[in-house]
């Protein structure tokens, strides 16, 4: 399953090349710029939108093309964008957002979990309270507000960082629960009696045994962040100059691709999203099996 994600990343790099090839053509360049310049009111997409001054060309370009094997493997949209290039470029952007969010969440979560477990007492109480509160606040909604009030568009890595800022509480809770279990293990006390310092115990004794849980939490965070980022972008809060999967969904909704019968516009991103999520699920199920021997025989 990790393989699938790797393949996606490679595809994404190819996607850059593909898109670059297209954008080298000046007319295409302007088309892309215009395309990303703002949301258009929903209307009959076969007519150029009124805000678009250059859109007379649209009819001449290859708009609304069904997929053809060689020219446009995934068709084009109403703005004549090559969806093959868009998707290839979009997958790594979306994955990147998820990875950034996952890394930061797990990093923050693990550090807070260890602070709580190491110092106990007040820091522990405060961190636990913070995670309890954080878990019951839908982070996505908070992000919406912050994003709106900031008034700037978030590029993929900023989006990832934002999602981590609201999502770390889940990692913190998972890791903390495990740290609490480990802390009571006799071998931790044996290590202390062997003269190991607190930090050494955390990194040399506890950390290796936490890796399965941290990895599982990472996978979960990535999945959650991807889901949330697509959601935010579909609401029109993404980076309009980015061809990420979520922005494609936004344009699909904006331009009424469904009612236009342009199935290729939404079907391919949908398939990619499903593959990403199933891969992530299978990775986490595999990790579960690895860290939970009881499930080993069943799954």
């Amino acid at each position: 399953m990790l393989g699938t994600l790797l393949v996606f990343t490679v595809i994404g790099l190819l996607g850059y090349a593909q898109l670059d090839a297209h954008t080298n053509d000046p007319s295409q360049h302007s088309r892309l710029d215009a395309f990303v310049s703002g949301g258009a009111p929903v209307g009959d997409k076969r007519l150029p939108p009124s805000w678009c001054t250059w859109c007379e060309d649209i009819a001449e370009l290859d708009a609304d093309k069904k997929p053809t094997l060689f020219q446009y493997p995934m068709g084009t949209d109403t703005q004549s964008r090559d969806l093959f290039a868009t998707n290839l470029r979009g997958i790594p952007l979306t994955l990147g957002t998820g990875l950034i969010a996952g890394l930061l969440s797990v990093g923050l979560g693990t550090v807070t979990a260890f602070i709580a477990a190491y110092y106990r007492g007040l820091p522990d109480v405060l961190i636990r309270l913070l995670t309890d509160v954080g878990i019951s606040i839908p982070g996505l909604l908070v992000l919406i507000i912050i994003r709106i009030q900031l008034g700037t568009e978030l590029v993929w890595w900023q989006l990832g960082a934002g999602l981590a800022a609201v999502g770390w509480v889940f990692s913190s809770r998972t890791v903390r629960a495990q740290v609490l279990v480990l802390r009571e293990q006799p071998y931790v006390e044996i290590a202390r009696q062997s003269g190991m310092s607190g930090l050494a115990i955390i990194f040399r004794e506890m950390m290796p045994n936490l890796i399965p849980y941290i990895t599982a939490s990472f996978v979960g965070s990535v999945a959650g962040a991807i889901l949330a980022s697509i959601g935010l972008e579909a609401l029109g809060l993404g980076d309009f100059s980015s061809p990420s999967l979520g922005m494609t969904v936004y344009w699909v909704i904006q331009f009424g691709a469904i009612t236009l019968g342009m199935w290729w516009w939404w079907l391919f991103p949908l398939i990619f999203i499903v593959i990403i999520f199933v891969s992530l699920f299978l990775i986490s199920a595999g990790l579960d099996e690895w860290s939970n021997p009881r499930l080993r025989r069943q799954v």
Partner: protein
């Protein structure tokens, strides 16, 4: 000969608690009180984050937006000056920040979110009340159904004595849960509304119909609700089914399951009262935690089907940057979610006898 020495009495046993301390302890030690305080804290933290973070940048985008609208003129021009005044009065633009914060919290505590920028003389509360009914109906029914169906299916999937063919149902459930609700909505809209032309693809009722208590209207309403509901339902069913399946597998490894067999109980009883009953407990905890994720997904489904609920309203508010309305809707959702989670947590000890209200 005995009792020649003065006997020490253990201080741990003689320490008498101060009655005030004891009362305060009992009050805050009470689970319901503590859970309610957590609810208040949650809402307060959310509100504070929303207030503080944007202001850290030093700009006031709301003010800028208002100024921009005022300069641009047009349809909203009419109320814009009043709006700007209202805005100043409400948050006290020139007041120090802490004063603004106090005003903000005061308004929040009365659930007063002020006026909508886009639909000026209307208040945000008006708009929320109009749309929340649709959301509430759609969400509660679909989430409850999804939980019941998903948990039921997961219980059967994870039960070792289920017929073998049932295991083939796992992959479809996994796939369904892997598709975000709004993407599922896209597919359903395409298949049922466009290709087969069976069901309407947007709105909550047919245009031209006015809401009324008549059979035809209710049927029309239900027809419109099917696709959005199904999109949320199918995706969420998979989520619950997978969780429940895992818990069933775990539960069947428990000692009391062996003992239930040793008692020669009939299969249905073991399944329902021993396996499902215990596997269900983490599902309920999951219900509390995953509400948020499921709900934000549902917001997008509303947008997709132009269902006139909170999600759709939020979407339009975002498009026109109607800050007061966005804050109002988001806070409403946050408060209702925190409230629902609190209710579930309070009910939880009733279904799990090991958890006591008084426990620390």
């Amino acid at each position: 000969m005995a009792n020649t020495t003065t006997r020490r009495v253990n201080p741990a046993l003689t320490a008498k608690p101060n009655p005030v301390v004891a009362f305060v302890g009992a009050f805050f030690g009470n689970f319901i009180v503590r859970r309610f305080l957590l609810f208040l804290l949650t809402v307060w933290v959310a509100a504070t984050v929303i207030f503080v973070l944007p202001r850290l940048t030093g700009q006031d985008p709301v003010k800028e937006k208002l100024l921009l609208e005022a300069q641009r003129g047009g349809s909203v021009q009419a109320g814009m000056n009043e709006m700007a005044q209202e805005y100043s009065a409400r948050l006290g633009l020139d007041l120090p920040l802490h004063q603004q914060y106090v005003n903000y919290l005061y308004d929040l505590s009365r659930l007063d979110f002020g006026y909508s920028i886009a639909y000026f003389p209307r208040t945000v509360n008006d708009i929320i009340v109009d749309s929340i009914i649709w959301s509430f109906g759609l969400m509660t029914v679909t989430l409850a159904l999804a939980f019941l169906i998903g948990t039921g299916a997961g219980a059967l999937l994870g039960w070792s004595r289920s017929p073998g063919w049932l295991s083939y149902a796992f992959m479809p459930f996994l796939t369904l849960s892997a598709i975000p609700q709004y993407m599922l909505g896209l597919v359903m809209m395409f298949v049922f509304a466009i290709m087969l032309n069976l069901l309407p693809f947007f709105g909550a009722y047919s245009p031209g119909n006015l809401p009324e208590w008549s059979l035809s209207f209710i049927l029309d309403m239900l027809r419109h609700a099917i696709l959005p509901a199904l999109s949320i339902l199918l995706s969420a069913v998979g989520f619950w089914a997978i969780g429940m399946r895992g818990m069933m597998v775990n539960t069947q490894g428990e000692d009391f399951m062996v003992q239930a067999d040793a008692k020669g109980l009939n299969g249905v009883r073991i399944f329902v009262r021993y396996a499902v009953r215990n596997a269900l407990l983490p599902q309920v905890t999951g219900l509390a935690i995953s509400f948020g994720t499921l709900l934000t997904g549902a917001v997008l489904v509303e947008v997709l089907f132009q269902y006139p609920g909170l999600g759709n309203t939020l979407f339009y508010a975002i498009r026109v940057s109607d800050f007061f309305q966005i804050t109002g809707i988001v806070m409403t959702i946050i408060i209702s979610l925190a409230f629902a989670t609190m209710l579930i947590d309070m009910i939880y000890p009733l279904i799990d006898p090991r958890v006591k209200y008084t426990q620390n």
